[in-house]
């Protein structure tokens, strides 16, 4: 979807430069932002963040899982799920089926997202993580299905859900099916929400198009890595459409934070601890309560009753009309 609209689009391919920043020999990498030459070993120890300018290199989905989850806790599900070619997409050169095969071989994943469950500091969660290398992180039916299943597993087990986004938009080769993944994932999120289960969205570089206009922007808490491109229309689309030149980094994490679209920009080093804090804060209410309003009310009245005597009458009044106010 890339957006859209109009004329052109911020879709995947233009982003695919040759392996961002990785120099020919594996000992060194070059920072694409400040051009600093970094020792691979230091760079990896620094979680692939440039020690000079703080540029956060893109991570693969599995690197992301290793970064965030407790070691060894990740159980991947649906790893074998693959795209079919629902439109029998007629291509000028390489067919979509061939393209998929090539991407699978190149990236070493069956699709542009992985999903499963695991723990962060011992707290369980269901998650889906996108991988930008696979056809520009484009969302087709499989990515949509995996995100949806991650949400559904959260619903079923009453675990919080985390989706880590990185995407150039919808997968053109799956046409309308791709577009509808936006509606599918969001419909599942609406159910999660009605079950009072928290959903955390982590947005990484780059995230544009249909993913930005669906699950990425619907988190109860939305986090982003520093300097990540985050937009509905990518900067090139905006430039082309508005006939302007945008300074580098105009639409990024800091920009969307400043405009109230996300909750926090978090350094890669702090991400795991931050998510652990959120998991401790947003405890999932017990199913009985969330799903059976009648008994839940009865239970909370008991709690209120035992609680009230301990409060001063003044504080009760402040809460709004004392006992009656609390009960209503």
């Amino acid at each position: 979807m890339a957006k859209e609209a109009a004329g052109s689009s911020g879709g995947p391919q233009p982003e695919q430069r040759s392996g961002p920043g990785v120099a020919p020999d594996n000992l060194m990498v070059k920072c694409p932002k400040c051009k600093e030459i970094l020792y691979s070993r230091d760079w990896e120890k620094n979680l692939k963040v440039c020690s000079r300018c703080n540029y956060h290199f893109r991570l693969t989905a599995h690197e992301r899982v290793n970064l965030l989850l407790d070691p060894g806790s990740f159980v991947e599900l649906d790893a074998a799920m693959v795209s079919v070619d629902p439109l029998n997409f007629v291509s000028r050169s390489q067919s979509y089926a061939e393209k998929l095969q090539e991407e699978r071989a190149k990236v070493g994943l069956n699709e542009g997202a992985i999903r499963g469950y695991g723990t962060i500091e011992g707290l369980p969660l269901s998650l889906a993580v996108m991988d930008f290398r696979f056809i520009g992180g484009s969302m087709g039916s499989v990515v949509g299905e995996k995100v949806t299943r991650a949400i559904e597993l959260g619903l079923e087990r009453r675990w919080p859900v985390l989706v880590v986004s990185t995407s150039g938009g919808a997968r053109m080769q799956e046409g309308f099916y791709s577009l509808l993944q936006m509606a599918k994932t969001v419909a599942a999120l609406a159910r999660l929400s009605e079950a009072h289960i928290p959903y955390f969205s982590l947005i990484t570089d780059p995230t544009t198009g249909g993913v930005t206009a669906s699950f990425a922007m619907l988190g109860d808490v939305i986090l982003a890595e520093p300097g990540a491109l985050i937009a509905f229309a990518g900067p090139r689309v905006i430039e082309q459409f508005m006939h302007v030149k945008l300074p580098e980094g105009t639409v990024n994490s800091e920009f969307v934070l400043q405009h109230g679209m996300i909750d926090a920009v978090v350094h890669r080093r702090e991400l795991r601890a931050t998510l652990a804090r959120l998991l401790r804060l947003y405890k999932v209410p017990e199913a009985a309560r969330a799903q059976q309003p009648a008994s839940a009310t009865a239970q909370s009245q008991v709690e209120v009753a035992t609680l009230l005597p301990r409060q001063s009458s003044q504080s009760r009044a402040e809460v709004g009309g004392g006992q009656d106010g609390l009960r209503s």
Binding site: A5, G11, G140, A170, K184, A187, G209, F232, A233
Partner: protein, 319 residues
Amino acid sequence: MVYDLEFEKPLAELEKRIASLQRKGERLRPEEHVQLQEYERELRRRTEEIYRSLTAWQTVQVARHKDRPYTADFIHLMCEEFFELHGDRRVGDDHAIIGGPALFNGETVMIIGHEKGRGMREKMYHNNGMPHPEGYHKAIRLMEQAEKFGYPVICLVDTQGAFPGLEDEERGQGSAIAASLYAMARLRVPIIAAVIGEGGSGGALAISVADRLLMLEYSIYTVAAPEAAASIIWRDKVYAPQAAEAMRISARELYALGLIDELVPEPLGGAHHNHRLAAENLKTALIHHLQELRQIPVDRLVQMRYEKYRAVGPFGFAS
């Protein structure tokens, strides 16, 4: 009638001959009169023939035709009464999306649609039907109001896409569209969406999560404009016609794929040749679907809507 599209040249030629004979009026000789009738029959036959097998790219041109009926035209032609509501109650009023309560077949419904505007001034006023975030916030406000009063929602879809400007990013275009998808997924009244021209990507989807999705016969629904898709896939927008074909964006193809619920017939030569008839056809279809949806208890309705979207998108498993 005006046949002004590239592929309509043979029709335009016939039309010219017909017009020149008609100009003679009373002075028409008997054999010329016969000739005129012959041309008229021929025009009808050729038009039917061409429109029966439009390519995807030709359909794009019809869907974007400047004389095509727009949302305001359909509202005017289909509803007994309409009161336009303005504003998102936060920032402003986006004229790319119009909406409000309407009397439709004797009942109040909430109509919401993209409006492109006709002619320079209107096009500027309506931003060519490309909404800003305020447009989606207004749409959500209207849908929630419809839910409060139990009015069905009818959405008319006609946009190239949401507006891709820097200010739109500042005001959260992505969030606004996501919020609208979210609202529609759980709205507790019937929703029918009808694509009347261009269904352009997320900006169109944002007001078309519905219990029933209808499309006018020569309308399109695309994941990205064919020009955009061509430059993404093949790095050159000259391949837009191929992209249109490959992505199967015409109403007919989408109907064949089972992705839409009804194909609404258009007048001969496209809706722009007869707004009134186009509106009558759409109204008939809407009444039919509304009647069906009204029979369904609301919990069941929302459940069915969920299942419909949940099921979209085929996949397989690698062996």
